[in-house]
């Protein structure tokens, strides 16, 4: 009927107690999906538990091995972090595409992931970068790769009472970069017709030694396309390797037809986006040398 309670816990243990059994509770990060959902009647929590007073949930921390982004850290904070945009320019490209300045100021990568839209921009970029989800629940902690976190359109793998605490991205090894591209009918304020996130590693001779390719908006969930990455590894990213990667993503794509484009068009376009994203990541690596 209406939100009856608003709670603002200061720690993870307080948050778990505040959430209770979970059936009638919703976590609140930036609210750019939840509050719209309540307004439109799609969501009806009686209790809202704000996560932004919990230090772990908004922190962005970098150590030798990994980058940890609190699940409720705003896209604006990630984009203005002193290191994250240069470590993951593709993830920054994806976060910068989520809505307007007003939305970017509130929305979070964790929220974008939990909302689990098939067209979410940050999810392919997170998958390409091998991001892991740290999840805390009544039964303890678990870690899931992002590609296994989304289980269907607007459905995530969280059990009742579980909380996505943070996203953990392995720090890129030298010679690595990422890129994200999407197609929309207009330049701003729209949802992807298709999206592509890639991360590649090149050795000093330009040979690809590792590659992850993820696609969005062309299947019920964003997909990691392992055969596309495999097609690139061992190659100098020549035409044959690019063609094989593009063929692999087109084979993996299972899009629907809707007002943003017919399935055939989306399948075609996602291949083009992948090849351009690979070229962008390659150019970034070469520029850094």
């Amino acid at each position: 009927m209406a939100v009856q309670e608003f709670l603002s816990p200061k720690s993870l243990s307080e948050a778990q107690a505040a959430f209770g059994e979970g059936a009638a509770s919703s976590w609140l990060a930036g609210g750019t999906d939840l509050l719209v959902g309540i307004r439109l009647g799609a969501r009806d929590p009686s209790r809202v538990v704000d996560l932004k007073q919990i230090p772990e949930l908004t922190a962005i921390e970098i150590d030798d091995a990994s980058v940890r982004i609190g699940a409720a850290a705003s896209a604006f904070d990630v984009l203005h972090n002193s290191d994250v945009p240069s470590l993951f320019p593709g993830l920054a490209e994806a976060l910068n595409l989520i809505g307007s300045t007003q939305i970017t100021g509130r929305c979070s990568a964790g929220g974008n992931l939990c909302n689990a839209s098939p067209a979410a921009d940050s999810i392919p970029a997170l998958i390409a970068n091998g991001a892991q989800c740290r999840i805390l629940g009544p039964e303890g902690e678990r870690v899931l790769p992002v590609e296994n976190f989304v289980v269907g359109p607007n459905q995530n793998a969280l059990a009742p009472g579980e909380l996505l605490v943070e996203l953990i991205l392995p720090k890129p090894v030298p010679g690595t970069s990422d890129a994200y591209l999407r197609l929309t009918p207009r330049t701003e304020m729209d949802i992807a017709v298709a999206g592509a996130g890639v991360s590649i590693t090149l050795d000093s001779s330009g040979t690809c030694t590792a590659a992850r390719v993820a696609i969005g908006a062309v299947a019920p969930t964003a997909l990691l396309v392992e055969p596309a990455g495999e097609a690139l590894v061992g190659s100098p990213l020549d035409q044959a390797a690019m063609d094989a990667a593009v063929a692999a993503v087109r084979a993996a794509a299972k899009p629907i037809s809707d007002k943003r484009g017919p399935a055939q068009y989306r399948t075609h376009v996602v291949g083009i986006l992948v090849s351009r994203a690979i070229a962008n990541a390659q150019a970034r690596i070469e520029e850094a040398r």
């Binding site: 608003f6 609210g31 750019t32 509050l35 307004r39 007003q102 509130r106």
Partner: protein, 164 residues
């Protein structure tokens, strides 16, 4: 069916003044500003974060007040269009919108003023493209945007101390 809602007591600094208000747990900031605090400069257009008419600053961060729960601003600082002018002296963004005719019906204007002020504090010398992207979440159905953008870039010049 209609359980009585628990009212929450919230304290925040609104346009520089310590303010206390009561709100329902699910009430959004835009409704509290307009209905409880009578700050009706903030407009409500879509109520879903698409139009930017309710743009305000919360701890200097540009947000849509329709997508913030009022209870979230406890202890924070909120600035609305009412807090932009310095007493009777208009902010350069407001002055230039007037001079350039960057408004017609005026519904989007408070949000544009707040968003443009935030832009110029974040980036004192934006390119036209940067200004257009920053303001892309502020929909205007009257002006076609051109006069708004000219006014904002002109205000930027004034604020940098350059002759217009």
């Amino acid at each position: 069916m209609n359980k009585p809602l628990n009212k929450m007591a919230v304290q925040a600094t609104i346009n520089g003044e310590r303010t206390a208000f009561l709100c329902s747990p699910g009430q959004v900031l835009a409704d509290v500003l307009r209905d409880e605090l009578e700050l009706i400069g903030t407009k409500i257009g879509c109520n879903t974060g698409d139009c930017g008419a309710c743009s305000v600053l919360v701890d200097n961060r540009l947000v849509c007040a329709c997508l913030v729960l009022a209870a979230e601003v406890e202890g924070k600082s909120v600035q609305t269009v009412e807090g932009i002018a310095n007493g009777g002296e208009l902010h350069p963004v407001q002055q230039k919108l007037l001079e350039h005719g960057g408004l017609q019906c005026g519904i989007c204007t408070p949000g544009v003023v707040v968003a443009a002020k935030a832009l110029l504090e974040h980036n004192p010398d934006p390119t036209e493209e940067q200004a257009r992207y920053w303001l892309a979440g502020n929909l205007c159905r009257c002006t076609g945007y051109d006069k708004i953008i000219r006014a904002v870039l002109d205000a930027a010049k004034t604020m940098r101390g350059e002759a217009a």
